[in-house]
Symmetry: C2
Amino acid sequence: MQKITLSTAVLPFLRFNENAKIKSADHEPYDDKVLRVAIMGLGSYGNRVAEAMQSCKRAKLTGVISGTPSKIKDWQSKYNIPDKNCYNYENFDAIKNNPDIDAVYVITPNALHHDQVIRVAKAGKQVICEKPMAINAKEGQEMVDACKKANVKLLVGYRMHFEPKTLEVIRMRKDGEFGKIMFFQGQTGFTIGDPTQWRLNKKLSGGGSMMDIGIYSLNGARYMVGEEPVWITAQETKTNPEKFKEGVDETIQFEMGFPSGAVASCLSSYNMSNLDRFFMTGQRGFAELWPATNYGPIKGRTNKGELTQPHMTHQTVQMDEMAAIILDGKQPIVPVDGEEGVRDLKIIDAIYEAVRKGKRVDLK
Amino acid sequence: MQKITLSTAVLPFLRFNENAKIKSADHEPYDDKVLRVAIMGLGSYGNRVAEAMQSCKRAKLTGVISGTPSKIKDWQSKYNIPDKNCYNYENFDAIKNNPDIDAVYVITPNALHHDQVIRVAKAGKQVICEKPMAINAKEGQEMVDACKKANVKLLVGYRMHFEPKTLEVIRMRKDGEFGKIMFFQGQTGFTIGDPTQWRLNKKLSGGGSMMDIGIYSLNGARYMVGEEPVWITAQETKTNPEKFKEGVDETIQFEMGFPSGAVASCLSSYNMSNLDRFFMTGQRGFAELWPATNYGPIKGRTNKGELTQPHMTHQTVQMDEMAAIILDGKQPIVPVDGEEGVRDLKIIDAIYEAVRKGKRVDLK
């Protein structure tokens, strides 16, 4: 797959090729080739995904799982979801017997993913899980194993893996247009609001900024450089221990080394603005994405000029592509499977370990 | 000085105010108010400084010190320097008795600065020393002490301390326009050529990229954030041990923490291109300089828009400003004295220590 370029592999699909024999997102009848998705967790990001799916050609919202009956009612009327496709956290194992639902997209607090994903797998449904897929690599691996055992696919919500400018930079790197890669910089962070939200509650989040926004820099380092890190160093800084309690990191800087000798310098923060920048330099060229990971439009340039790939709603593209992965066995350019999620979690584990030990952690 | 703005303190001078009662750079007669400078070390940077001084209003090249007679001849004819103002490394102590020379600008390999600066001080001449002022803080302090004892000023060639866009960012930070500073990133490096040059010879350079180009990120972190770091971590990476021998660092990443809780992430490299970027974010705004430290024009922007201060040849501005510091006791916005140089060297010492120990080094 390494040599397939955007123009031959991705863009025709991204352009919503009119020749595709797929029905558009009218609400019935369901088409065999459309992935029928229930969303678990009807929070703000769940809403964003549902909205975006209205423009999908191959994925369709057909069910919901929530602990809040009023939210279910709102979604039912907004998305025309029948009662029989609505579940709560007690009864959703019964989804097993629901022929209207092919897959469940788990969009709940991080610490809940593990048990929920395993229950969905046991119900025999395909799983898409928001990132981070779990709160540590051990849990992530158990989820991968459970899905394998249940013979269902497990995908992780890495929306940037389908973003056209990101993919163009990856194509250029694979084609050697930057020369040997020397350095990657990823700076992701934002100033988080409401101190009572689940993201700042370690029991639900499993950590702090690193789990939520730092993972973009980490994951970005891997797909931009195209290698797996062999060492990690990390430094934590906390300026507001009231808001960012024990175990909830406010700001982490981390550095990585890769087998080729390339290095990365990354920043993860819940207390900084104006970040969201990727930069990579090789011996023959460079790429900058800024913003690199927000909902877009992503902007970027390389030594060859501005990146001009058109913006499309990330979650729409993601869900269409994930439908193709699940339904057709399509291979994405950058993996989005459970193993990919576990790789990030192993490195996050190592980052927290490097912070604790105050020294470099070597990765296998 | 904190509240003096560019428009009142610096720009009138930078605009070469026609009211200034200073003769322009005609070659005679010397004016009492002009700093008459001998350059020690006639290499490429010495040449650049000499060229730039031709446009100075307050500094004038009047002498040379070199071990290469042919270079002295070239410079004599180019800059109209009489034989009596030419010295070599054996006899330059005699400069003591030369009334045509007020100051010596030492532009030789780093490891030579210590002895040369002390000899110049003992000869009773003002000293300007290229950065790094020495190869470690101990030597730097001895130079400061020697100049104090000899009652001469010691300035370090920090040309960016007079650069208008840099000064505007510093003004904005001092005036609170970025809010509380959270993060600084400095990435300085280039792909160094000729492997036989003195910069890659530890005996002459005292180290590698960190001494030569990394110091810009380090010094930049200090003047941009406006604080002194309290801790340092650092990681060294070497991909070409043939070219970058023992003790000559190819690439160093280093991180710093400041008393306010602000952090910095910096990169120093002799084997990367497309760098030279400063970025700083605070709770209310940000600044980017890219390029940040090359010979310019420096480009930059903040949350308020593009920085539009005009480019002037850095070395011209530096030498005019240093003349004002030496002759008039002018206080620069960012210090350029020997103590400032020693502060950088203490941190460079700590960076090398952090690399050696593989853990954080706390600074007093």
